[in-house]
């Protein structure tokens, strides 16, 4: 009797299976069209809308334009009107759109470990606020990161006025306290200085990395490019860069002369240079090599008054900053000074809060946009745990600090709510929401409003109130609309101030040289750790090292040899009683005696992507010397880990010069302008009667910043493969930045070479494809037809540039890494680009969807495509404008002239592939005097 129902169920199941098989085998799946009930104005289904907004890095705003397709933000691009973007982006801005859809974002209010509600939080907060009103806020503490937002500053001012005894603490793991302290030493007040690289012809970077990651990277890169764009027709002098630094940076890689110098030597160089310029202080004795470097640099700097500039990195102690101010004043250097951007009076430091917590003086702590339990010294977590304070964490993730706080409130993503920010030069910009909050999240103005006793404060009203207070009401609405359109508040840059004559600092006696010095740096992929859960950034090869999915302790080859260490050996780093284990990465160009580690790894509660990767450098950090710490001990543990790279480190036996040629500026001046010459070929020439797309990449300008890599990933639905697949040598980036070390290990002279598909006219991938999935179109694009591809991988084997990527698994199609298959992430996909399935080859398409969009728009309007109408994603992102794309057939296209430059070359051009992507060789401008000296 019991068999009968089960038999029926089986029959039903078989019947269902049969119908499913027959339906899926032959018919197309049913699709729905769901129109609006009421279509919003300006929305044309299928046509993206673009909105100007701002994204923050370290609290400073960068203007961006975000594309929204049917209400979904999908792509971030630069805002040409914003002084910190100038139309370009960096890797962090490009990746912001992935963080928006991060499945690990906090979605609910939590009280302890329980899910709670916003109302529940308000109920808990109200009695405390009533008490604070009586006591003036005694025991109320606010902890924030660096705040530049005029609205947040205004609201915090109101909170302070309401509770006069409240104390506001600020903590930013990558702050600018050394630079501020240096300005106080030099000028008597903490002026911020803005170096103008576009007006500098000789630059000495003393442990400074203006071209490296940071809120000002784009502006500096554009300034750098202004004097490094070597063109045959433009005979203006090129700038010359000198860099002395303990660990190789982008600036050091681009410098004409570089000295691997320990932090102490960098300080000595600054003192010696000041002495040379008449400081009257004794010059320290320098090693011969450093002396030669300084002699050449000093003579060069002195020969270009008004155009010579000395930069000092935040990592150096305040006295070196003060010295640089004095030197720059002597040189008449192009540096502008402004009052610091942010609060008029700096907030109290974190240490004071830790002391107060430990002394149980804190009744209520509100943490806003900071994660001190991870990125501050261990004291915070202990003090908070024992304080019994009513602690509230407000942030986008349930992170390390949230786990320690009594309440956690989820914060909206910057693309989800209103806001405003100031850039490093003080320019204000508005942030407007591209989408309603995906989850039940709120933004900081709401929380500050709650502290002020209003439960329903909105960010929109708060931002409008801030700006309306400064305008006449009758013109405000028009002004507001204009600012929203432009993304920038016109003429809002901080007024330039003339600094008082800079004083020479008192120099502390030199410290005895330590055997090993630990140097900490922000990470180019995850910055201070706040981007740790962004899979695009984690898989983005770090500039120079090409490492992905982790960090490592970088050593000079000399130290590694002496200590018998090699890549991947795990060492124990100990400093002042604190210790961590980290794998070793031998990086030529690191100063001997220096161990360099980047911040932002070793996250414990970042999410599914960022947890447990790399070594936590914060554990070694001491609050009094946050960047450079002498007295490190390092010993091997005997363990090994597999470091992951996207470009294996190998010696090229002299081929590097052919793959990455360099030209000296004087040789270039003697060169001649001529069209590219190709080797003879038996293949028939392609006769083109339509557009002929081509790309030229100027390797002189490329600073290896990875903005293009992430831009390509975001535009073209390039999936993340995850560390295990990277370890197998599989990666999907359509554009990689190859790094060549052209010099000996002690002076590696790296060069950056972005490599997209070459779109060869005689493409080796095409004849080997058995199904013609790899094929040329009339406009010169080497196209990959996914629906034809059967995955033989012959094309990949035959591609001399190794730019083809194979979907070994359904990286974007059902077998995603970790949580990357979450349905919410599908909203980020660009609907104009196919999401590739397993078993299919793919590669750079020259953003064929953008070419198609331009072509269709031209055909609709009955006109030709404009000379600069098609802009590829990588080109639009590039901060130094190293990438040019265009139509060889168009008379006004810039590409033709670039292909006639004397330094123009084709990568592996001797193979006869006739690539459409070609390069301009890196132009170096060494100082002849220094070269004769052997530097």
């Amino acid at each position: 009797m019991t068999d009968a129902p089960s038999l029926t169920r089986r029959q039903a199941a078989l019947g269902l299976l049969a119908s499913a098989v027959s339906l899926s085998a032959c018919g197309k799946p049913a699709e729905e069209i769901v129109p609006y009930v009421e279509q919003p104005e300006r929305i044309v289904p299928g046509v993206p809308l673009r909105f100007a907004t701002s994204l923050a890095l370290n609290g400073y705003g960068r203007g961006v334009i975000v594309s929204s397709i049917e209400g979904r933000p999908t792509k971030v691009e630069g805002n040409a009107g914003h002084p910190a973007s100038l139309g370009s982006t960096d890797a962090f801005a490009e990746a912001a759109v992935l963080s928006l859809y991060d499945p690990d974002r906090s979605r609910a209010v939590r009280e302890g470990t329980r899910i709670a509600s916003w109302d529940g939080f308000l109920t808990a907060l109200r009695p405390r606020l009533r008490r604070f009103e009586a006591t003036g806020g005694e025991g109320l503490r606010l902890l924030t990161g660096h705040v530049t937002s005029p609205t947040l500053l205004r609201l915090m001012g109101q909170v302070q006025a309401r509770y006069p005894a409240m104390r506001w603490h600020g903590y930013e793991p990558i702050g600018d306290s050394n630079a501020r302290a240096g300005a106080v030493l030099a000028f008597g007040r903490p002026l911020a200085s803005l170096a103008q690289l576009d007006r500098a012809v000789v630059v000495l970077a003393l442990d400074a990395d203006p071209l490296g990651p940071g809120p000002d990277q784009i502006r500096h890169a554009r300034g750098f490019a202004a004097h490094r764009t070597a063109r045959w027709e433009n005979k203006a002098a090129l700038s010359r860069f000198y860099a002395a630094e303990p660990v190789l940076t982008a600036t050091g890689a681009k410098a004409d002369h570089r000295l691997a110098a320990t932090p102490t030597l960098v300080r000595d160089l600054a003192i010696a240079l000041a002495s040379r310029l008449g400081s009257g202080r004794p010059a320290p004795v320098l090693p011969p090599e450093a002396q030669r470097f300084l002699d050449a640099a000093a003579a060069d700097l002195q020969s270009r008054p008004g155009e010579a500039l000395v930069l000092v990195g935040e990592w150096q102690p305040p006295e070196v900053h003060a010295l640089a101010h004095w030197i720059n004043a002597r040189l008449g250097a192009p540096v502008e000074h402004i009052e610091p951007v942010g609060p008029a009076e700096p907030p109290a430091p974190l240490d004071a809060l830790i002391e107060a917590l430990a002394a149980k003086q804190v009744d209520t702590l509100v943490v806003l946009g900071a994660n001190p339990a991870y990125d501050a010294s261990a004291g915070f977590a202990q003090a908070l745990g024992g304080s019994g304070a009513f602690s509230v964490h407000f942030g986008p993730y349930h992170d390390e600090t949230a786990a320690l706080c009594r309440w956690h409130l989820p914060e909206s993503h910057p693309l989800e709510d209103w806001g405003d920010l100031r850039a490093t030069d003080g320019t204000a910009s508005l942030a407007q929401p591209l989408i309603l909050p995906l989850y039940n999240t709120r933004s900081a103005p709401w929380l500050l409003g709650a502290l002020l006793g209003t439960d329903e404060a909105t960010a929109h009203a708060a931002v409008r109130d801030t700006w309306a207070a400064q305008r006449p009401p009758e013109t405000f609405e028009a002004w507001w609309r204009q600012v929203l359109h432009d993304g920038v508040v016109a003429d809002s840059a901080a007024p330039r101030v003339t600094p008082p004559p800079s004083a020479l600092p008192d120099l502390a006696p030199p410290v005895a040289p330590a055997e090993l010095t630990l140097v900490l740096r922000p990470d180019p992929s995850v910055w201070d750790g706040c981007f740790a859960n962004n899979a695009w950034l984690q898989e983005c090869p770090k500039p120079l090292t090409r490492q992905v999915w982790g960090n490592a302790a970088m050593l000079s080859p000399e130290d590694a040899r002496r200590r018998k260490l090699s890549n991947g050996d795990v060492v124990r780093l100990a400093l002042g009683g604190r210790q961590i284990d980290a794998p070793v990465l031998v990086r030529p160009g690191t100063a001997p005696g220096v161990v360099a580690l980047t911040l932002g790894y070793g996250r414990r509660r970042a999410g599914a992507i960022g947890d447990g990767l790399g070594a936590d450098a914060y554990a070694l950090r001491s609050p009094d010397a946050p960047w450079i710490m002498a007295g490190l001990t390092m010993e091997g543990t005997g363990g090994r880990t597999n470091l992951l790279f996207e470009q294996p480190d190998r010696r090229l036996e002299g081929e590097a010069r052919a793959l990455f040629p360099t030209v000296r500026a004087d040789e270039l001046a003697r060169g001649e302008s001529r069209p590219p010459v190709w080797p003879p070929s038996l293949n028939p020439d392609r006769v083109s009667d339509t557009h002929a797309w081509a790309m030229v990449i100027d390797t002189s300008l490329c600073i290896g910043c990875n903005a293009c890599v992430i831009a390509c990933q975001s535009e073209n639905n390039v999936p993340v493969v995850g560390p295990d697949e990277v370890a197998r040598g599989r990666e999907m980036h359509w554009l990689r930045i190859d790094t060549y070390d052209l010099g000996p290990p002690e002076d590696p002279r790296p060069g950056f070479q972005p490599v997209p598909c070459m779109h060869c006219e005689h493409a080796p991938c095409e004849p080997v494809c058995p199904v013609e999935a790899s094929i040329h179109d009339a406009e010169g694009l080497n196209v990959q037809v996914y629906n034809r591809c059967i995955g033989t991988r012959f094309c990949q084997a035959n591609c001399p540039y190794k730019v083809r990527r194979f979907n070994w698994f359904g990286y974007a199609d059902g077998q995603e890494y970790a949580n990357q298959g979450a349905p919410v992430l599908a909203a980020q996909r660009n609907p104009e680009v196919t999401v590739r399935a397993r078993g299919v080859m793919e590669k750079c398409t020259y953003c064929t969807q953008r070419i198609s969009a331009a072509r269709r728009s031209a055909e609709r309007e009955g006109r030709e495509i404009g000379a600069r109408e098609v802009v590829t994603a990588c080109q639009s992102a590039c901060p130094s404008q190293a990438i040019t794309f265009g139509d060889l057939k168009h008379p006004d296209s810039p590409i033709t002239a670039l292909r006639r430059e004397p330094q123009h070359y084709a990568l592996l051009g001797h193979l006869g592939t006739r690539p459409r992507t070609t390069y301009l060789a890196a132009v170096r401008n060494p100082n002849p005097a220094a070269e004769e000296g052997g530097s």
């Binding site: 197309k28 049913a30 699709e31 009930v37 009339a778 694009l781 196919t834 064929t848 269709r856 055909e859």
Partner: protein, 218 residues
């Protein structure tokens, strides 16, 4: 020894062999022909919609213009399906209580969109753009047929790649002047052989590149 096989065994064996061959050829033929059948192309299949909207009544009978509802056809790849509000421009005044319109009224009242079933489905790796077609001389009825006679919209063309390429290889016979794009009764005039090339030149169409893979696949 007695015969094991009866006489008819020979016939049977031949029949089985022949049957196998027929089955093989027929099976292969079926597999080849399958994609062209209406079962695969969904040609001429009427799909049930949440609302029995009749193009025959609205377009053929009342003369509502195509672009009254399909507003984005000249600007976007997507022709546009009207929002509920467009229906209610008239139906808030006429047939306000008709049972057939209950789902429309419910959509407006509950602010819940109507879920239409897609009739013309292209694979995801095909990127078709309505706007370039209608602004370059390809009329609605060339692909969608006489919509004004259809009480329920059905797909009249097979929408196979071969069918697309027929026109992409030689668009001239199907091109119309811009004034006749939305004419449902358009038939190629007798002198289309002369008009076609003139229209090609007028629209600036270069048919030799219309079959590039990257035109439709990316």
């Amino acid at each position: 020894m007695a015969q094991i096989f009866p006489r008819y065994a020979n016939t049977l064996a031949r029949a089985v062999l022949l049957g196998a061959a027929v089955l093989l050829v027929g099976g292969l033929g079926l597999l080849i022909a399958m994609p062209y059948t209406s079962h695969a192309t969904r040609q001429d299949i009427v799909i049930e919609q949440p609302i029995q909207f009749s193009h025959e009544h609205h377009v053929g009978g009342l003369g509502v213009a195509c672009r009254y509802c399909h507003t984005s056809v000249e600007q976007s790849r997507f022709a546009g399906i009207p929002p509920t509000h467009t229906c209610m421009t008239c139906h808030s005044q006429i047939w306000t209580n008709a049972a057939i319109l209950a789902p429309v009224r419910r959509s407006l009242a509950e602010n819940a969109p109507i879920h239409w079933q897609r009739v013309h489905v292209l694979p995801d790796y095909v990127f078709f753009d309505h706007s370039v077609h209608v602004t370059n001389g390809v009329g609605c009825s060339t692909c969608h047929g006489a919509i004004d006679t259809m009480p329920q919209v059905r797909q009249v063309a097979p929408l196979t790649m071969g069918w697309c390429l027929d026109c992409h290889r030689n668009p001239a016979p199907n091109l119309r002047p811009a004034s006749e794009i939305y004419d449902m009764d358009w038939k190629p005039p007798a002198d289309q052989a002369e008009r076609g090339p003139a229209l090609l030149a007028h629209y600036g169409i270069k048919p030799e590149h219309l079959t590039d893979c990257s035109r439709c696949h990316r």
